[in-house]
Each structure stands twice: as C-alpha cells, then as structure tokens.
Amino acid sequence: MNKRKILALAIIAFMCALIVGGTSAYFTFSDRAHNVITTSGIAIELIEDTNQVGVDGRAIPFTNITDAMPGDVISKIPKVKNIDDGDAYIRMRVTANVNYPDGESNRISPDMFNLDIDVTNWQSSNGYYYYNQELSKNQITTPLFTTVTIPDSLSDQYQGATFSLDVYAEAVQVANNGSNVMEAKGWPKE
C-alpha cells in the first residue's frame, strides 16, 4: 500500500520535473567586438646646431664652412632627438674624409680635428659613441661634441682640399633589450 503511494508521488514529482525542465525557452543575441592590436616604433632626428643664436632665439643650424684656416675652431654641435613613441638607445659614429683638388679622396681619422667629445655621457666602443641614457619621446641627447678644430700643423698637401666630417646616428628600442645601452642588440647594421 505504501509502495503504491510512493509510486504515485514519484510519478507526480517526475511530471512536475518535466514541466519545469521542459518548458525553458530561449532566444539569442550576438554582437561583434572589433579588437585592435597596434605596434609602436622608434625614430630619431639628428640635429646639428652651432653656438650662434638666430633672431628667433633658436640656435643656428650648422652649415658647410668655406675658407677655414689652420687653427680655426668651428662650432658644430651634433645631438639626437627621439621623435617617436618608443624609448630608444642611441649611438653615433663620426667619419672624416679629405677631397683633394685633383679629385682624389681619402678617409682620415676624425681625431685629426681634435673633437671635444663628451666622455661623461657618451661611451666609446667599437668605433661608436653610445649615449649612456635611455631617450624618451621628444628628449634630446647632450651634444656628442661642440667644436671642430682645424689643426695648426696642417701640411701643404691639404691646401685647397675639402674636409668632410660626417656624423651618423642610430637607435634601437629600449623595451626588452638589455638593461643598458651597451647590452642592447638589434642596432641597424647588426
């Protein structure tokens, strides 16, 4: 008798469960998320000023000097500005050439011009000068040097010759690239 009651209650419970579980209804909604991934970058600008100031109060950029004489001290102030978002390590290289009136050209040592290299902020290694600090957006390095001195003892062989003193600047990212400029990898020529 009790079994029958239990059976009956079980049937009712089962049917109720069917009603509750079986009448769920649903509808769907969807939408699109446009997710964007971007990369940053680094870019630099080489600035070559002089110690002369223009009427606008800004330093006058370096231009070619003509008729320089032995012993002349020329103002040439190379610096580097970070013009992109990414922090950068900086290095510079200086090369010198002499072009003779007969068209011949030779590479010479830049040391000949007695450059007043800033050895506090720039570290020399493997022909490059490495800037000791990280350069963030819009920051400018200290000048690598400020003056170029034409040697007093310039021999007659250089009469009428043209000297070129070229400065190159390179940059590489700071992010994920060592703890200082000397540890950095991925320089443009590597």
């Binding site: 008798m1 209650l9 009712i12 009603i19 649903y26 909604f29 969807s30 939408d31 699109r32």
Partner: protein, 252 residues
Amino acid sequence: MKHFAKITAALLLSLILSTPTSALRSSVYFLGQADQFVFHPGTSWSDTDLFDGFEGAMPGDSLTEEINIRNASNDCDYVKIYLKAAKHENHSEVQESVLEKENIASMEDFLSQLSMKVTSNGEVIYEASPDQLDGLANYVLLGTYNPGDSSTLNVTLNIPIELGNKYMHRVGEVDWIFMAECYVNEEIVEPDNPDTPVTPDEPSGEPKPLPNPNNAKTLDEIFKFVGIFIASMIGISLAVLVIRRTLQKEEK
C-alpha cells in the same frame, strides 16, 4: 590576540593592494534583451575594442588582457554566452580607422607575425597567430551565467623580438563575435522584430534565430513542449486516480 589578528589582516590587505599587475581589464556586459551586449573600454580605433592593452606593442613584449564577461541582464533567468572569431571577408567588416592605415592583406600579414593565447576557466580555447580562427572557428561556450555572474577570459599576446622595422606602427583588427542565449522558464522570449531576417555574424545586436540548426527553435520544438505538457497532465491524472483508488481500498 584580537589585536594581532587585526594587524595581520591589515598587513595582508596592504600586500594585496600593493601587488603589481600588468594585466589590464576589459569587459563584456550582456545587459538583456533590450540593450544586449556592451563592450568596455573601447579605444580610439573602435568603440568595441577589448584589446586596449595591446596598443603600442614592441618586439619582445608579452602582453596580457583580462576580459570580464558578465551577465548584467535582469530579464533572463540565465544566459549562455558563446564566443567565436571572425575572418575579414571584405573591407566593410573592418573599422574605417584601421583601413586608413592597412588593407586586409597587409593587416593579416602583420597579425600572422604575432602569437595569441586565449584561456577561459583555465582551459586554452585559442592558441595561434591572431590572423587565424583556430579554436574559435565555431562558437565556444564560455559559461552559463545567472544574473550577476561573471567569468574571465585571459588573452596573452606575444610579439617576437625579431619583428623587423617593416612592422613598426602597424595595425591589425581581430574580430570576435559574442552570442548570448537568454533562457526564460515557462515563457517563450519573442524577438522585438521577428520579421527582420538577420544572419548570425551580423554585428546588428538584434535578436535573431539561432545560428546552429541543432539549436534552432522550430515548430518541432514547440510541439515537443506541448507534448510534454499533455503527457504531464495525463501523468498527474493517472497519479490522482491511483491515489484515490488506494485510499478507497484502505477505507474498505
């Protein structure tokens, strides 16, 4: 002892508060049948951008984005939320801001250089370069959510250190489609505008028929519900009869 416990609690709190975290947090809210999905925070590239932490990446970066998925609806008893990725078949599916810098081919070339992993509830549901659909080629169930419930999607993006200058200042769009199934007991939820035909991939946000034929609410399903109801009534009637007979026999 009580004093010690307070100090310990304070120390623990300060440790927790000072723990640094590199992961950023975006959110996907399902607001219900009227407002549907809302994406936060959005960026200057797209209002629905969930990857705000993946801007300005540099070679060697490993970036993480936590995406909070929340059922913020109050007109569904519970919802099931699914996710799938979508390929860009034509330019109309790409944000205009992105197309100013890239076309689909250049974008996919850029994205193919990267690697991305997505985990949901500790399970990896995607691991490929973001130009691929991988495990999100079809809808993946992220979870079943009662009102107020939430879960977290963890997205990790790796930029190879060897990425060259060609990939400076590049932009790539990764589209994800979220779908919610809103369940309401003993009541069929009708779409606002049932005559409007929509496809599952359209970013319309309008209520739409189920994308999977196996899930589709059809006449068969309605008949099934009616059948269950009739069976239930018959079952209850039979049960009542059995009980009454039993009671009558007991009285005799």
